[in-house]
């Protein structure tokens, strides 16, 4: 709690800068209007006008909050204008990609730790795969899955988000499965434990802290992947699609509301994963 005051101060400072910025950026429009009408305006008249434009360059915080509130609470949850609805679509995509990424990442890590040849041939390519910007692949994944007869947008979205989220899981799991030291491995050998038993009783439990640490990174990556997957698809559902619609129709307020909805979703996901991590740690007897 001793951090609460500094954090609060920083947040207030950000709000103040934001207000100043929106006055500054939106004032050009007000001045333009005034000169067009042959009027002169003073700053005292300008500032209220910058606070309530329909298409502001930088909407002030209260306008964004108002729009966000309208999007979340002002609509029926099933409405196409409801941010809860779009947020849920994005959440569903994120979870599908996240699950796929975990399965893929853990499976590959197991193979890499077990087989030396997998370690040497696959690991470098897994690293290279992350230097390829996935967004370059995203539009193509969408069209191709359309071509081979996958009608829903869910599958390509999940693939893109799994591609981004498998890597942190893979790296941490490889580290985690190798975490038991020689003493422990030797001990199990003296017990006459088979390879499967060593895996279940030693390697897997030892890797769990690494696994949960990687989940936070992976879930943030999965959300980014889902939003990117919604962008070029001509999709009409999801927070990414809302941003695209706002951009194409020149409605900044829609964009900002969708952006903040995405931020809230990201925060919720991270809190959720943090809770799961704490539960699992308590169950495993780590910390208090």
């Amino acid at each position: 709690m001793r951090n609460a005051f500094p954090i609060f101060t920083v947040l207030c400072a950000i709000l103040a800068i934001w207000y100043a910025g929106s006055v500054w950026m939106n004032s050009t429009w007000v001045f333009d209007q005034a000169t067009r009408n042959g009027q002169t305006v003073t700053w005292g008249q300008v500032i209220p006008l910058t606070m309530a434009q329909d298409r502001p360059l930088l909407p002030p915080p209260h306008q964004v909050a108002e729009n966000l509130w309208k999007g979340i609470a002002g609509q029926a949850v099933t409405s196409k204008r409801s941010l809860v609805y779009h947020g849920f679509v994005t959440f569903r995509g994120t979870m599908a990609g996240f699950a796929l990424g975990i399965v893929f990442g853990v499976g590959m890590a197991m193979a890499i730790v077990r087989f030396r040849v997998m370690d040497q041939s696959v690991m470098p390519w897994a690293i290279i795969s992350q230097t390829i910007p996935i967004v370059a692949l995203a539009p193509m994944i969408l069209t191709v899955s359309n071509q081979i007869g996958i009608e829903t947008k869910e599958v390509p979205k999940a693939v893109i988000s799994a591609y981004l989220s498998f890597f942190p899981v893979l790296v941490s799991m490889v580290k985690g499965l190798r975490a038991p030291d020689h003493m422990q491995l030797d001990l199990l050998k003296t017990y006459g434990a088979s390879e499967g038993q060593t895996f279940w009783k030693l390697r897997l439990p030892a890797s769990l802290p690494y696994f949960f640490a990687s989940l936070k990174v992976a879930v943030a990556a999965a959300l980014i992947g889902t939003i990117v997957g919604e962008l070029p698809s001509g999709a009409i559902e999801g927070l990414g699609a809302r941003m695209l619609i706002g951009s194409q129709f020149g409605e900044p307020l829609i964009m900002w509301a969708a952006l903040f909805a995405a931020a809230i979703l990201a925060g919720l996901l991270i809190v959720l994963v943090g809770l799961v991590e704490r539960l699992a740690n308590r169950r495993m007897g780590v910390g208090a």
Partner: protein
Amino acid sequence: MTWAPANPLWLTGAVAVWLALWALNIGLSRRATRAARVAVPLLFGAALVLLWEGIVRAYQVQAVILPAPSVIARTFAGSTAMLWADFVQTVVKGALSGFVIGVAAAFAVAILIDRSPFLQRGLLPVGNFVAALPIVGLAPILVMWFGFDWQSKAAVVVVMVFFPVLINLVAGLQASERMQRDLMATWGAGYWQSMLKLRLPAAMPFIFNGLKIATTLALIGAIVAEFFGSPIVGMGFRISAEVGRLGLDVVWAEIVVAALAGSVLYGAIALVERWVTFWHPSQRH
């Protein structure tokens, strides 16, 4: 599409070569020589490309679904001028300039944070949270502010790169030990002296970790920003335009360029890292 291949010879050939290379890899991976460590991943990659070529030819997969590597290579060789122009627009003008500005800004803010414990406690949790947000979403807004040309792409890259680098930098500046800092103090070193001689070098492993994350983010940011509007040049523009025309060979050629650019950037940073942080345990083989 049926499961019986139209050209079974290509399929059996490709699978046979794949199996042979895989067996060779198993043999090679038992040796611990340096050459083997380089050869194994290269052979694996080559086998993958061969298998891809074989499957595409055997099943006569249409080019609008998956072009064969040979077709992509031909397209790549035939349109180098266009690919180069796209590369300059997106990577050099958009990603690299944004990367440099973002990293510089992160350094400046990190020093500020470092000098004030109050800012450290306030700004760091906020920065940590922002780093996990889908910042790509800012792309349409920044494109609206800075116009369609590379300036808006650079702006997106600046925002995307800033937070991961900042967090790693601040963590790195705390990496030197109390004893070491006290030693600097007993020598009468000022803030900047102890910064340059002790704390920055100690922070280097963290800094490079942040820079590596930032290289991939920079390319992602520059390409995504082009989906929201761009001049008629640039990798993101070309990809979305060619996908619309089902010119997938061009798309794949751009992906090859993106992969090369990403790998070269990452590799360059990893090389500098090895040169700068030769003392760190992870660099001693």
